[in-house]
């Protein structure tokens, strides 16, 4: 099934088209979400929301961009919203902990590693440090960097997804790498590993 007929099928609520779309793009969408939220279960939940949004708004898709570009955009927006909500929750949680004596301090950390029960502690620590360092990079830089490193997308594809010029994407990724290096150097100086 080619892209236009796939879109047409989805617009007509064709179950076969739904299944084809999900089978073709589920890995890409889950990967994108996971590269932003760093948790497999959360990434799958967000990916499901992405497909539901696509099914619901299929009539608005005009075919000006590729289907994958549209999916990337929705996946990125939903993942960023998830991260922002999580940050807000953690902020209120920290306030609550201040008043309740910090009973729930370790809950989120343990939840974050639920999907990797067999990985060693050093690997976990390293990943956590990497995620924290990437998390410190400004949002646009982080998205461009993530799409490039985790999704292996070309600068041109990233420019289309982020609706930016090629030179802007080059600049974003260059600055993202510098920022990541600075964050990791801070960590190295503190002997965090």
């Amino acid at each position: 099934m080619n892209e236009p007929s796939l879109i047409k099928g989805i617009q007509q609520n064709d179950q076969h088209a739904y299944r084809t779309l999900v089978e073709n793009y589920q890995k890409m969408v889950v990967n994108t979400c996971k590269s932003i939220v760093y948790n497999h279960a959360d990434a799958e939940d967000i990916a499901q929301d992405v497909f539901l949004e696509v099914f619901r708004n299929a009539n608005q898709f005009r075919g000006e961009a590729q289907l994958s570009t549209w999916l990337y955009r929705i996946a990125i927006n939903r993942s960023l919203n998830f991260v922002r909500n999580n940050r807000r929750k953690r902020f209120w949680q920290s306030i609550e902990d201040t008043f309740t004596g910090g009973r729930n301090n370790n809950r989120e950390i343990s939840e974050n590693h639920n999907d990797q029960p067999d990985s060693g502690i050093t690997d976990k620590q390293r990943k956590e440090i990497l995620h924290q360092a990437i998390g410190m990079i400004p949002e646009k830089q982080r998205i461009a960097f993530t799409l490039n490193k985790y999704e292996d997308l070309s600068y041109q594809q990233i420019a289309e997804i982020m609706n930016l010029s090629l030179s802007s994407v080059e600049s974003l990724i260059h600055r993202a790498k510098k920022n990541l290096q600075d964050q990791l150097y801070e960590c190295y100086k503190k002997k965090c590993i």
């Binding site: 890995k27 889950v30 799958e44 390293r126 990497l130 490193k149 290096q181 150097y185």
Partner: protein, 140 residues
């Protein structure tokens, strides 16, 4: 090349994005500087972690779960319509109830009530024809 300059360019060295002269300069610095070499090693390991995180297997039940949620979504879309229907029916029944109540209240009920009140009044007036004193004397 100074350590500071190395720290500024290390990630680009590891990614192979420097010119051949710069690559050579960084390489020779790393050969001589333990601290920079250790940092380069740490950064290399961190960047390799990204590669290891790329491989993601999606749950085999992904589409099944999505189908369930899709059905739920359709239920949610239908619910507001059902809600409006229920509200309209309830409102109509309420209006009909009020109108019927007013109609019944205005016509036959008032007539019956007036008659019964008049009868009571007549019974009350019987006391005038037979005073209570007479009634009590008869009882004795």
């Amino acid at each position: 090349m100074s350590c500071k300059k190395i720290h500024n360019n290390l990630i680009f060295y590891l990614e192979g994005e420097l010119s051949s002269e710069e690559m050579q300069a960084v390489r020779s610095h790393l050969d001589d500087c333990d601290d920079c070499r250790r940092f380069a090693e740490m950064m290399k390991q961190q960047l390799q972690l990204i590669e290891s995180e790329k491989q993601t297997e999606v749950s085999p039940y992904f589409f099944t779960k999505l189908s369930v949620r899709l059905d739920e979504k359709y239920e949610q879309f239908r619910l507001p319509a059902q809600g409006w229907l229920q509200l309209t029916t309830f409102s109509l029944l309420l209006i009909v109830g009020i109108v019927v109540g007013i109609y019944l209240g205005n016509l036959p009920y008032n007539t019956v009530q007036t008659q019964s009140v008049d009868n009571n009044m007549l019974l009350m007036n019987d006391f005038e024809t037979e005073p209570i004193e007479t009634f009590l004397l008869e009882l004795q």
